[in-house]
Symmetry: C2
Subunit: 354 residues, 2 copies
Amino acid sequence: MKHNFGAGPCILPQEVFKQAAQAVLDFNDGLSILEISHRTTEFEAVVAEAEKLVKELLNVPAGYSVLFLQGGASLQFAMVPMNLLGEGQTASYLDTGVWASKAIKEAKMLGNVNVIASSKESNYTYIPKEYAVPSDSAYLHFTSNNTIYGTEYFEFPETAVPLVCDMSSDIMSRVFDVSKFGLIYAGAQKNIGPAGLTIVIVKDELLGKTGNKIPSMLDYKQHIANGSMYNTPPVFSIYVALLNLRWLRSKGGVAEIEKENIAKAAALYAEIDRNPLFKGTCAVEDRSRMNITFVMENPELEKPFLKLAEEHGIVGIKGHRSVGGFRASMYNALSITSVHALIEVMQIFAEKNK
Amino acid sequence: MKHNFGAGPCILPQEVFKQAAQAVLDFNDGLSILEISHRTTEFEAVVAEAEKLVKELLNVPAGYSVLFLQGGASLQFAMVPMNLLGEGQTASYLDTGVWASKAIKEAKMLGNVNVIASSKESNYTYIPKEYAVPSDSAYLHFTSNNTIYGTEYFEFPETAVPLVCDMSSDIMSRVFDVSKFGLIYAGAQKNIGPAGLTIVIVKDELLGKTGNKIPSMLDYKQHIANGSMYNTPPVFSIYVALLNLRWLRSKGGVAEIEKENIAKAAALYAEIDRNPLFKGTCAVEDRSRMNITFVMENPELEKPFLKLAEEHGIVGIKGHRSVGGFRASMYNALSITSVHALIEVMQIFAEKNK
């Protein structure tokens, strides 16, 4: 058995893989999910149920639309300013890592951007808390969880301007209040489903106000008007997302999975703090529950530790080159058994290297 | 057994479904294709082989890049002018159907467009042949096969300006000379693979010349520089496309499949022309081999015919609402056995309704 700590595309529940494989062979009446039209009643029901489940699991209030799009969060970096940032307006951004700064770079190509806080000077080891949001900002953009650096917002920015958030790596991992947000987007390939799908949750009343000319595929209003079927959607990715959302509901929903995520993160951080060979890389109060970054006091031991971990079936813990060391990504589908397996290897290794 | 004549997403070979299902359960070393990182050696090999196979099967000359993108042909409708149509320039377009006119609509949002010929006045039943391409056009855009109306270009436009083609519904179905083109794009969900993937083949020297500011995800040069991995690609759709391209090579490649496609289309058109109940909708010389549109002399018989066809396992032949009647889509993976099954039902029905 493998313990998959990969950062993404990443682990999904085994039962989802089984159901997905079955649908590739026979989704409906002998036809594969890969060969049916997206205009069939059967697939329209898939999209409708997936939308309903996103709304139910996140308690999305009335007045918001849920969209299933393509292009990942990276395409949202451009779509957000195209749709929300008018000529002469300025958008505020918080810079907390590689993805946040890519969002800033793309927005700058399309309009005026004000970076109101950044933790870049410390290699993004913390979430900035002291900043003022100009009240005339078109919106405030931030990244709720920083996959590469291992930080996460546990208190969201408070502001009267529309809040826009890239939640790619922690959506569906914890309870939060959608009504505080103007727009949320997330690449599916962490806690929602496979790669090739992006979820957008947008407050309808914010749209159509900039006067920008927006190509149809980049216009949220077009996708809303067409129920995420403006053109052929990523059929299989949406179907697998539905299977995974059903699994999440069967586990008791987001509130229940959050308890597990808290327990998993607490267990691993406790070991990092206890074990003399390891140390965390981020400010304790901002430590992510999804992506746990840590290094060794003695970097020469990192290779042998990685080797031992691999021998124990642990995969995907090599750290991103921007941080080094290790990154244990612990998304919803990773069981606490896998976390304990990693902790055990850390303890065995510490014993060997006393 | 079903005979899947659906227009897309559509039939793929049964062995591709089997291999794809297996990879969902265990792609590599116990891990599902849905849970591996796109940065693994194993997946990088998938992308490299898929690219190599596209180049080999289409005989793509040096100086062209092959890209695996998202967003379908519809996103290309915007990306093409963003990347190729500079301020003050004009692009020429040929209007041969719904998709061609959508491409025109999107391009008009982004620059100057000149529609140099259209068959709209006849409900797109033929391919216009008389037109002049202004020699200062940034490019000439056309749609090689019109999925909805059932027409196909058998002679491509001759022009000195760069030729841009939406080949979504006939790429990989017939031999053609890539070197005549500046840019080719195709939604994968006909002859390449499942929905959620778009293939672009572009002549490198055409790029980077407009001075347009292009968001990274919409910039071909960014995707080329990153080997189609600027961000997380649609992993599963690329993998299934690879399986399908391997199947096509094992069949003898595009030249061999073209022979089958010619035979399949000839058989069905012969029946349409012979059978007194049916008639084709398009100019004979422009009849598509991929999407065969036909109606009944007596429209009241269409429902009972559809019912009889369904009883014989024939699915997906209801015509698009723009044309009515029937559309038999006969992509690469549809066997001649299925075509004969349809012909047989047409003959049985004619016998019953003499």
